[in-house]
């Protein structure tokens, strides 16, 4: 039975909006131009590649369902109360292979000694073997060789797959080499593939040279694709029989937790801006365009909101939300929907504190725009205010919105971890980077230290945020009119 949680619905809405936006931009060359500038930067494309991988994981993790329980003869199907996602199903071994407690990355034995009775009844203190991690090995000493072998094979397989993907994207480009369409980000990692595809090299090289002419960083894309593919291959091959990143206190695989955290981080980073964007846009341009008392009222609202330090405002709002959730347990049918609603609320609360900055920017820009000649022309032709706002103002502040959207993303992902630590973040039962760090932090004092859960959470977060930051920089550079000096002609 498919389940659509609130956050899922918002993600689908966001996807639809993004899709429509992309379709619209593709049909308008002047809107496409800054994106072409983004595509010329190697760092932007590589970080986009990384981001789209994270996005893929997050999207698969958004398709939720409740499995039908087996053993029901009557027609009425009974569904398990546990809400799973397609991604859970894909990586089922990771989810179900839980150990007893901590184990180090790639370990075959638990991290703590336990009393084990041997065959003759003697009780020994030793590190017991794991239930799943390296269970196929007869002897513990074979582990290193086995790990190396599996990693190598996995990496090779991943490399092959990466080459195939690169090749396929070249193939996709070939039928319409003249149009130049469809030569977006992922379809361009093909420059140095010509030896492999020598069969069609005659028709291939013109395409490639055209791509190169447009300044697409083909070589970096190819290298990035291959490296990522090899990494994924190696990890995937190891993950079937080992815990690549170890296990946590209750024996859950840390890799599984990290991958599940991605969705939470992405939702916080995107949905937050989405839910408050209409508000900021509406109030911002209304204040800037109409001025007078409307401006005063709107300025008053956002000055009040922004004068409260954001952490405190968030804390107060989340505390109140907790009270509401605790006192109304009948609102939720599953634990997942409860945790999910809390996530959506958190996005709303975070948005409440962050829309004021965007609103102020939009107001300022609208104040500038409304004095432009074309707006005055429209006014003197008797065009209605609403039409002026929609036709003339909104398209001209779009770049501000886009820049704010991508710049806020990484800050929000980082904020989630901090807020979860403070105790006003996501539901404790929801897997996120913040809850992972929070749980792992308590193990700092253990001797020897349990470091892998912390390292995994920080590592995944670093990659996600770094990619987002680099991409955001490229987008800002491409869209900021103050920086556009080279290509004014088009």
């Amino acid at each position: 039975m498919p389940v659509i949680l609130w956050s899922d619905a918002l993600v689908f809405l966001l996807l639809a909006a993004g899709g429509i936006g992309a379709w619209y931009v593709r049909r308008h060359e002047h809107l496409l131009l800054p994106w072409r500038r983004v595509a010329r930067s190697a760092t932007a494309l590589v970080s986009l590649l990384v981001l789209s991988l994270f996005l893929a994981v997050g999207l698969l993790d958004t398709l939720h369902y409740r499995a039908a329980l087996p053993g029901q003869q009557s027609g009425e199907a009974v569904y398990s109360p546990e809400v799973l996602s397609v991604f859970d199903k894909l990586i089922e071994p990771l989810r179900t292979h839980t150990e007893k407690t901590y184990s180090a990355p790639l370990a075959v034995a638990l991290y703590a000694k336990e009393s084990v009775a041997d065959t003759r009844g003697n009780v020994l203190r030793e590190y017991p073997r794991l239930r799943y991690g390296g269970a196929h090995l007869a002897d513990v000493s074979q582990r290193d060789g086995d790990v190396a072998k599996r990693a190598l094979f996995g990496a090779l397989a991943g490399l092959m797959a990466g080459l195939l993907i690169a090749l396929a994207s070249v193939w996709r480009l070939l039928p319409s080499p003249a149009s130049g369409r469809g030569a977006g980000g992922e379809g361009s990692q093909s420059k140095y593939l010509s030896p492999e595809s020598s069969l069609r090299s005659t028709s291939l090289s013109p395409t490639l040279s055209r791509l190169r002419e447009r300044g697409l960083p083909l070589f970096s894309m190819l290298v990035a694709t291959l490296v990522i593919a090899a990494l994924i291959g190696a990890v995937a091959n190891l993950a079937t029989v080992y815990h690549v990143l170890g296990t946590d206190k209750v024996g859950q695989d840390v890799l599984y937790l990290s991958l599940k955290s991605i969705r939470t981080g992405l939702i916080i980073g995107t949905v937050t801006t989405l839910v408050t964007l209409p508000l900021a846009l509406l109030l911002g341009i209304a204040a800037g365009y109409f001025r007078g008392w409307i401006d005063d009222v709107i300025q008053y609202i956002y000055t009040v909101l922004s004068s409260i330090p954001s952490v405190l405002l968030i804390a107060a709002a989340v505390l109140m939300m907790q009270v509401a959730i605790e006192t109304h347990p009948h609102w939720f049918d599953t634990a997942a929907s409860r945790a999910d609603l809390r996530l959506v609320f958190l996005c709303l609360v975070l948005g409440m504190t962050s829309w004021t900055g965007l609103c102020r920017l939009l107001r300022g820009e609208t104040l500038k725009l409304r004095e432009m000649e074309y707006i005055q022309a429209a006014q003197s032709f008797g065009v209605s205010s609403l039409r002026i706002l929609v036709r003339h103002i909104v398209p001209n502040v779009m770049h501000i919105i886009l820049i704010a959207l991508v710049m806020d993303f990484s800050a929000l992902v980082l904020a989630e971890a901090v807020l979860s630590y403070v105790g006003v973040g996501v539901d404790p039962s929801m897997i996120s980077f913040g809850t992972m760090i929070n749980a792992a932090r308590l193990e700092m004092g253990r001797e020897p230290m349990v470091w892998w859960a912390l390292a995994a959470a920080f590592g995944f977060m670093l990659v996600l945020v770094l990619a987002a930051n680099l991409f955001a920089d490229a987008v800002r550079d491409a869209f900021d009119p103050r920086l556009n000096r080279t290509e004014g002609a088009a």
Partner: protein
Amino acid sequence: MLAYLIRRIFYAVPILIGVNLLTFALFFVVNTPDDMARMQLGIKRVTPEAIEKWKQQRGYDKPLLLNSTAGGAGKITDTIFWQKSASMFVLDFGYSDDGRSISREIQTRMMPSLAIALPTFMIGLVVYVSFALLMTLFRTTALDMAGVALCVLLMSVSGLFYIIGGQFVVSKLWHLAPISGYAGGADSFKFVALPIVIGVAGGIGSSSRWYRTIFLEEIGKDYVRTARAKGLSELAVLFRHVLKNAMIPILTGVVVVIPLLFMGSLLTESFFGIPGLGSYTIDAINAQDFSVVRAMVFLGSLLYIAGLILTDISYTVVDPRVRLS
């Protein structure tokens, strides 16, 4: 100038009223005191008498806005709004759930917060600006590129990582400083040193990059070219001309946080066990002590508005062209 200040302070009143109304709505209207009592006493098996008693102990057993049973001025003053919200204007924050006076707690906890936040702020400012100036000096070279790359990398790392990593390396591996704790007087140095270093390190990425953009914007202007044409060395140009002219955008971002330093940092103080206002707030959040959180929200916005006024004053100090009237 004085007239301007008085007017600014006068302007701040409606904003503070707005903040007050907002917290009142958030804490007493969205969730009634009954809800809060039920939450704190446990959801199940809570008797109406227990709720009444909880409310009475905290003075929540009054009407929200208008007390029709009381006579005279009591109609307005004997209400939750008057006693819990409006009283904050005279800095009377009432009592926390454990019965202590919140105003008193704020007074005693301000100093430890300041002991961490003020040095972090000062050292941080110097470090970030010097690093940014260095990058500006070596602009368009590989050194500048490396600096920017380092900044982006540093700002992509979670703030929690700096604290946890710093505690682990400095305190656990090297035994240079105690992991957490606080002592007054001369002893305090060894407790505050690590939080300060970590606080400064955590901000390098974003701040230095921000200052670098400011400096780069200035360096393209005409007066810089004139200064160079006079034969000034690049260092003199940077420090004597660019830095001075970049003061306005720098002050805009910097001065506003000075009053907020009193509030301390939630994260640093709770990780290092500093008995300041930050850890007070975080404890209140975890214990769901609504009156403390309410007081902190109000105090925070009060200090923020003070910071905005200070910012305006600071403009007149660095730029004689700015006249407040």
